[in-house]
């Protein structure tokens, strides 16, 4: 409940150490590369033709999320964001 300053004696959590975060990121990037590499060896069978294109799902997932964030941040937020007490007057 209380927000006390973090004591220096406290055992550091796994992600308090930057090298652990770096290690995790490295593992993650490896997964990214492996998942894309599967497309070279395995030919997907989809209902639509474009589903079997190389990296279709990877590119779509990446682009979709970038568009999502860009639109949410630069289009939606300026339109709809108000102060916290907007409805309280």
């Amino acid at each position: 409940m209380s927000k006390k300053p973090i004591s220096m004696d406290e055992e550091l959590g796994m992600f308090d150490k930057p090298e652990n975060v770096k290690r995790l990121l490295r593992i993650f990037y490896a997964c990214v590369v492996i998942s894309l590499a599967i497309d070279i060896f395995y030919h997907k069978h989809g209902i639509f033709t474009w589903e079997s294109f190389f990296g279709f799902y990877s590119v779509y997932g990446f682009v979709a999320c970038v568009i999502l964030v860009i639109v949410a941040k630069f289009v939606l937020r300026p339109l709809v964001m108000r102060k916290e007490d907007y409805y309280n007057d």
Partner: protein, 589 residues
């Protein structure tokens, strides 16, 4: 005759008995009621039971078939898990409202006629409102009031449709209706309010994050899923639902990305998931309806689980905004783990429950060659991973260390979350048990290599986008704010109407008060104090002005006054006035 009770009876009546018990007995009762009710349900054979004549038609308290049963099963399970999660709550209002609310949802899905459906539909609204009001804050009071008003309006729309439908067709049976008549449109929109369709949705994102910690767990389960059931029963294959569902799946994810309140993020993602179900019902094939129902089943578990983990965080820290949280994985490792399971399930990771149901809807859309819809759903799948799958666990448990140190969630909460998490994984690994309960027989195989690879790539690259955007500082920082949604129409717009009415009608009122009440009556009273004398004075003044001769006006006035007081007029004047009045009367009549 069968030796069982109507499905909703035990929870609704049992819920009303709850306040008469205290302490451990009440806790035991709250846990036992869903269990007893479930055992009772198992006694019911397929068919219509408790059929009574009503008006020109009949009411059917229980129509038991595969569609109502699967909703009945999962509603009981979720009612039990929610009661377990809420075991520490010693507040009669919440205890009663939660139990009755679950009972109302069960009553609605087993209702065989529209009148029974309507009664339980309204009971849902009333009991849910109390779960919001029970937070007892000013914001909750406002949100609860708005929730009630919106749902009463939706309920009246439904009732209007039901009455028209019954008078046109002569049948109150709640079966396939299909869009066409005016009556069907009223019913359609009435259900749509509870289903949180775009522009009808803001009650959900407004009220759910304002309800009590445990109330939100109940709320997230029943209202929208009851509406999904009603749509699957009455409007399968309605094309309009495809457009509505597509919009529902897509637009909330944008809001979820910029929303700060993590329970509100989940509320938006709830609409997004319900969108998939609505699409499934709209496509209307056996595969898609199976997919919609299976997804509703899974969503009840994983969305409940996610709300539970955020509730536990809120219970322990008192905070729920992403700006205030972070680094809690050290304090609440179990909650964190369960949250990740929920996140993986809602994101439809292979081996988690969302994967085995969402893919059915996607595949049904592809089979129907609905290309744009398929792209939107794929976009929504990537987006849901982005905000519910990563954002929720990341900002609550990782991100920057907020300095918050708290205890792990209480045992009963951990147990409820643990059971939900295990079920999410079990369903994901052994979907055949879920599939065997679906309304249509299916031999659907979610685990083809193509499908697993495709979904994994989609999700991993979504995660990559999140990581890179975050590292590059492009990811929108959480900001304390309110994001305006369609509820602006009645929250701000309502006030504008109020202001306009205030200006227009109170303006007229003020003017009328000033002119008629204060000035006109005052002058009239003054005049009739001494009507004869006043006419004389006025006449004399006119004469003076016309002739220009100053004839000592003041003296004349005094003379008139004294004559009036002593009533000493010459008789001739009285007779003259009487003749004048009689003449006037004769002319007028």
């Amino acid at each position: 005759m069968i030796n069982a009770l109507p499905p909703a009876l035990i929870l609704v009546l049992g819920g009303l008995l709850v306040p008469f018990f205290k302490g451990r007995t009440r806790q035991a009762l709250l846990l036992l009621l869903p269990v007893i009710s479930f055992i009772n349900l198992l006694q019911l054979p397929h068919g219509s039971h408790w059929v009574y004549p009503f008006l020109s038609d009949q009411i059917i308290l229980a129509r038991v078939d595969k569609l109502s049963l699967i909703f009945g099963y999962i509603f009981h399970l979720v009612a039990f898990l929610s009661a377990l999660y809420a075991l520490h709550v010693d507040d009669a209002v919440q205890n009663v409202a939660g139990t009755v609310y679950a009972g109302a949802a069960i009553g609605a899905v087993f209702a065989g006629d529209m009148f029974t459906l309507f009664v339980f539909w309204e009971l849902l609204t009333i009991s849910a409102t109390f779960l919001i009001l029970a937070r007892r804050t000013e914001r909750a009071l406002g949100a609860g009031f708005r929730y009630f008003m919106v749902h009463v309006a939706g309920g009246l729309c439904l009732l209007a449709g039901i009455i028209m439908h019954v008078s046109q067709t002569g049948s109150a049976a709640f079966d396939l209706i299909g869009l066409g008549t005016t009556a069907s449109w009223f019913i359609f929109v009435g259900i749509g309010v509870n289903c949180a369709w775009p522009f009808l949705h803001p009650w959900l994102t407004d009220a759910y994050p304002e309800a009590t910690i445990t109330g939100t767990i109940f709320l997230s389960a029943f209202t929208t899923k009851t509406a999904i059931y009603a749509l699957a029963r009455a409007f399968p294959g309605t094309e309009e639902l495809i457009f509505i569902g597509g919009a529902m799946a897509a637009f909330p994810i944008f809001y979820a990305v910029i929303e700060n309140d993590l329970r509100r993020v989940l509320a938006y993602s709830l609409i997004n998931q319900v969108g998939f179900m609505v699409v499934g019902i709209g496509i209307g094939t056996a595969l898609s309806i199976n997919g919609a129902v299976a997804h509703a089943f899974n969503d009840l578990l994983f969305k409940g689980l996610l709300f539970m983990t955020m509730g536990a965080v809120m219970y322990r820290t008192g905070k729920i905004n992403a700006t205030d949280l972070g680094g809690l994985y050290k304090s609440m490792p179990w909650t964190c783990g369960f949250c990740i399971v929920g996140a993986a399930s809602i994101s439809a990771f292979p081996l988690f429950s969302g994967f085995v149901s969402k893919s059915m809807v996607m595949e049904a859309a592809a089979h129907g060659d609905m290309r744009w819809l398929w792209f939107i759903l794929l976009f929504a799948s990537a987006g849901v991973f982005h905000h519910a799958g990563i954002k929720i666990p990341f900002f609550a448990f990782y991100s920057h260390d907020s300095g918050l140190r708290c205890k792990e969630a209480p045992r009963h909460m951990l147990l409820a979350m643990g059971i939900s998490a295990v079920l999410c994984i079990l369903i994901g690994c052994f979907p055949q048990y879920l599939y065997s309960m679906l309304p249509y027989a299916t031999d659907y195989q979610p685990y083809s290599i193509s499908h697993v690879v495709a979904q994994s790539q989609l999700l991993i690259f979504s995660a990559l986008a999140f990581t890179l955007l975050l590292l590059a500082g492009i990811y929108p920082a959480e900001i304390r704010s309110v994001n305006v949604d369609a509820d602006w129409i009645y929250r701000k717009g309502g006030r504008q109407i109020y202001r306009f009415c205030n200006w227009a009608f109170n303006g007229i009122n003020d003017w009328a008060d000033r002119v008629f009440v204060q000035q006109f009556t005052k002058h009239l009273a003054q005049f009739f104090e001494e009507p004869g004398g006043n006419i004389q004075k006025y006449g004399h003044r006119l004469l003076v002005e016309a002739t220009g001769i100053d004839d000592h006006v003041d003296q004349v006035d005094k003379k008139i006054d004294s004559r009036s007081r002593s009533a000493a007029y010459p008789v001739g004047i009285g007779v003259f006035l009487a003749v004048v009045i009689l003449t006037l009367l004769a002319i007028l009549l």
